[in-house]
Symmetry: C2
């Protein structure tokens, strides 16, 4: 995963044992050498066979042939193709440059499995290249700071699924996260002490390059800038003074687009940042301006009047155009969220569409290149399937001409961090981002959701060999919540609940940036695998298509959930973090009991009386609403069973 563009499976398998050895032929460089060592490390982890030591007698049964170098700074359009030929006794990986080699190595690692003969890879010939050249993951380090090890292990995960752009959201109202030497008050006053040093930035850029990943920095402006104004109130449109904020949402502070000093500041700032970030692109954000500070400032109103600007959008457009020139002056290509798109936006500006797929098509028609993030908002707790079926060239973009379609560079998963910390961010990013990565790499017609989930489960497991801690973090958090080293009954509950969808969570409690995220909604993955599997069973049963084994499986699950409450209750009361789950556990038990009754009714071809059915459906409806900030994901499926039983 992602599925290769072309592959032909053969007979037999290539065995991996201690004599495994790699030969590099043709062009070579330090990135290929370190890529080889990293490959051997992961392969050792996948197999438990030591492959790094050189003392062992090695034969080269894995040959890498690289035709030439890739660019000193990775470009958007470089050849990323490779050919991987796996024969029974020998493997050959061929690519035009190191980028293709890195991708081919990942494909090989994904194919490793344990068999009765040992660890092996099936014989196959794979010719592969990406569908889109820009396949990204954005991490928001502004709202919750993410230490360097978090970034690094997610870059490891990105490499595994062939993502090639790390979009680093580095400033927001809650924090400014980069050390500036020209404007040191940015981090000194605006970060609460949590920021990346310039040395660390350089390390991350190198770490990413080693993995075939570009790093695109984002400094969001003119809004989402409260943290800048703590140290530099002159940038602001309001009177100040400004404090770092711990609130979420669209806040009022905005840079003053009318003062020349604002542009002088930005110019010098971009000048400093472009020395840290070698990528050709520079993201200036540009989203979510509420305009309140502009409206309240008579001087700004006078400026707008004098320049014939009829609204705040026109003022922002003026700001964006000025900043675009500054970015271009530093030899960078500007990128921005779709708010920056105006009819007169220079053609070289890249638009990142987040408010709907329509803006992507508008940009492409207008001649701008564009990226899709609408539908890839992994902070909204949608399913992998939902993300998977969003296509950058679907929806409004399907009707683009070939030339316009070529302007759609790809897409980016966006990990906004209101409700994630360094502890649980991995479980929000992985494994679902692998499904998005497949959408952006594999041919458009690869859309089989069942196949995607089958392969996603394997990739999810393998990712733990790379670095992401998406699976292990959940258990640690449940242990901590309960004070119990093996909280079996809490795990049973945790497996069938999810955090609320979309932007619902902010309405349920008063969350701020320092609110501990250490409860069940934070510990469980955004998509319950158990609930998904039970939903599949319920649909089969309701449709009269389930096998006896599937009936039994559904019954076993429901019995487990019905009886779990009695075991779990004593545990819940012992901890402040779990006490709120007392009704959640009770509800699950009730839901399961209703489900068991519905199964009985279906099996005996008998319907409950209408009053009982209505009562049960009401209860299930109530159970489907958030309780203690989690959703019971079983209730909707039980509703299906109750309706099916009633329809007999």
């Amino acid at each position: 995963m992602p599925l290769p563009a072309h592959s032909v499976q053969g007979e037999g398998q290539f065995l991996i044992d201690g004599s495994f050895g790699i030969a590099l032929e043709g062009y070579t460089d330090s990135r290929l050498l370190s890529g080889k060592l990293r490959f051997l490390d992961v392969l050792s982890k996948e197999t438990g066979i030591p492959l790094r030591g050189e003392a062992q007698s090695k034969q080269a049964n894995f040959t890498i042939k690289t035709a030439g170098p890739s660019r000193p700074v990775q470009q958007v359009v470089e050849d990323e193709s490779y050919r991987l030929e796996i024969m029974a006794t020998h493997v050959e990986l061929t690519a035009a440059n190191p980028l293709g080699v890195l991708h081919g190595l990942q494909t090989f690692l994904q194919l490793v499995r344990v068999t009765p003969q040992g660890f092996s890879v099936p014989v196959a010939a794979i010719d592969d290249q990406p569908r889109f050249p820009w396949r990204g993951l954005m991490i928001d380090a502004g709202r919750h700071f993410m230490p360097v090890p978090v970034i690094e292990r997610n870059l490891d995960g990105m490499e595994a699924v062939k993502l090639n752009v790390f979009h680093w959201h580095l400033s927001d109202d809650q924090g400014f996260r980069v050390e500036s030497k020209r404007f040191p008050l940015l981090q000194e006053k605006g970060s609460g002490g949590l920021y990346y040093t310039q040395k660390q930035i350089g390390d991350v850029v190198q770490y990413a390059r080693d993995r075939g990943i570009r790093v695109v920095p984002e400094f969001d402006m003119p809004c989402h800038t409260s943290s800048w104004m703590v140290g530099y109130p002159r940038l602001a449109s309001g009177a100040g003074p400004y404090q770092p904020t711990s609130r979420w949402g669209v806040l009022d502070p905005a840079m003053d687009p009318t003062r020349e000093s604002t542009y002088q500041f930005i110019d010098r700032f971009i000048g400093e940042m472009t020395t840290l970030f070698p990528d050709a692109y520079f993201h200036i954000g540009g989203d979510e301006c509420d305009g309140k500070e502009w409206d309240a400032n008579p001087r700004i109103q006078a400026f707008m009047h004098a320049h014939g600007m009829k609204d705040d959008a026109a003022l922002q457009s003026y700001f964006t155009a000025r900043v675009q020139k500054l970015v271009a002056g530093h030899h960078k290509i500007m990128e921005g969220w779709d708010e920056v798109l105006q009819p007169d936006t220079p053609r070289e500006v890249v638009i990142q569409s987040w408010r709907g797929q329509a803006s992507l098509a508008v940009a492409a028609r207008q001649g701008n290149r564009a990226l899709l993030s609408t539908g890839y908002y992994i902070d909204l707790n949608q399913s992998a399937a939902q993300h998977y079926l969003v296509d950058p060239l679907g929806g409004d973009s399907a009707s683009l001409t070939a030339e316009q379609k070529a302007r759609v560079l790809g897409g980016e998963a966006t990990m906004w961090s209101e409700y994630v910390t360094e502890e649980n961010i991995d479980s929000r990013i992985w494994p679902r981002t692998a499904a998005i990565a497949e959408r952006l790499w594999s041919p458009q017609e690869v859309t089989d959701v069942a196949s995607m989930y089958r392969r996603l489960a394997i990739v999810s497991q393998k990712l733990e060999y790379y670095g992401p801690q998406h699976l292990s973090s959940t258990l640690l958090m449940l242990q901590r919540m309960s004070g119990d080293s093996d909280p079996e009954s809490l795990k049973v509950l945790a497996a069938v609940v999810q955090p609320p969808f979309g932007y619902m969570r902010g309405g349920l409690r008063n969350y701020q940036s320092f609110t501990p995220l250490n409860r069940l909604a934070d510990a469980v993955p955004p998509e319950s695998e158990t609930a998904r599997k039970f939903s599949d069973l319920a649909k089969l049963i309701a449709a009269g298509k389930a096998s006896p084994q599937q009936w039994q499986e559904a019954r076993d699950w429901l019995v487990l959930w019905r009886d779990n409450d009695a075991k779990l209750q004593p545990l819940l009361a012992r901890s402040e973090l779990t006490a709120e789950l007392i009704p959640v556990s009770q509800t699950l038990s009730q839901v399961a009991a209703i489900g068991l009754q519905a199964l009985d009714d279906l099996q005996n071809h008998r319907a409950a009386d209408a009053a009982t059915r209505e009562k049960n459906l009401q209860l299930l409806k109530a159970a489907s609403k958030p309780q203690a900030v989690v959703l019971d994901m079983i209730a909707p499926s039980v509703g299906l069973l109750v309706k099916a039983a009633g329809a007999q």
Copy 2:
């Protein structure tokens, strides 16, 4: 854990929430500041409450008062005491120097637990100091190289249990692990590419110092030196040429003690290494010389004859005395394994006793200071209880005078690495080393094994917040072995088997340094917690002292084990790594069935006929022997039940 020297528990608790804040009073330095940040990090992990950011309004409800500095290079005898007073609204930690502060912070972290009111620490007053000044963990990076992150996370674990000496075994027959600039062929020819750079050594020394831990390097000589001789055959007593070896055991290669060039080399080498390792002590190994190369070399024999040396021990003694002068010349105190002890060994040499507790007493009587490692060999898969009950001042040392006892500095757990890799080393070190740490820190009369195991379970869980991966690694290895992301039935089997005790394993298969350690014996912890608990139950039942609940618990376990085989068998055949477990799983099922029959017999006050009993005991005896390099730890307890049933 370790239990404090003195503590008085009060009423109430100190609550930890987002307003938690620390004030440093009195002396302060960078180590205290970084210790504070590290403390906040672990506390954040323990609670999930963000405590690092400075933007939050903080009150200082935790005051640290430090009287003065500790030594620039940590000494063996420094004041490590502290006083920790936990009141309902305020905590005060007082110490003479930063070492005591670091220890007191760890005590606080261990007391954190979740309650109905939230995370809290019980009100208490603790006055604490260590019983012994030298509390160590040795890691053998010679046989299997251990990358820096492995060392660092184990230093984190050491800090948590107040160990203060990291003994780094850096060279052995299989590998030379430090970069030498004076003698670069040491690492270039002798490490297979797996060694620490001088920069990394410096980083580890600093990392350890930050945690109140001394780093004592060991370069084992004159034997265990094959890896030196690959690059520098002139050091050897044999003709050479030498190759890196992958075999385990006592090998023949030995330095030539008769050539002046040997001492010139060692002198220059020690000179270089002492610039890397600031500690006052320098360990020269000195163990396990078989003397074969000396015996076979006529020149060496002639030298011995000319100098009136009657045996190889005398020759080694001569070598040791020469090296001791070189070590002293570089202003270091020599340390060695107990083989280096001779009647004329200079009094300043520190003896590390590994061949029995007797040599410890001999050394102390003779006027040498000494350390105990006999009984703390954590590579031998003994139980925590066995290690726990070994006292440096027990056995032969109990009869020492007070003055002689004062020469016993403490002890060290030794993690030899024939059968560990970077992947499973944590699960060999932890949690058992915490029991040894308690032996070396807490008062001698603290010997309650049941209390130790209760607290060890809590510490084991907490250690995962620090860095050691002793719990998570087992699951990953079982997943890999089986190719199954949730190998439930394999976990059931894994929970009741152990790797073989002592030196038995080497006799069961041909293990070499490149043999993959990826099977069940490598994945499971060295001490089965489940088997220990079942053994306790079986003893109670056999003694007629079990409650009805305990009877039921034993029965539930046995039913689980009896029925597990049917579920597990289909999984086992699918992987080369698990196929060998087919009979192991069958045996467990048989053992459990016999156990259930014995329980029935006991409950019904009826004895099986003698022939059946004899047959069952034979089967249990066979089941207690290693199969697929693991031991069934249930069989001996079932044997108890069968015997009890027969004795009715």
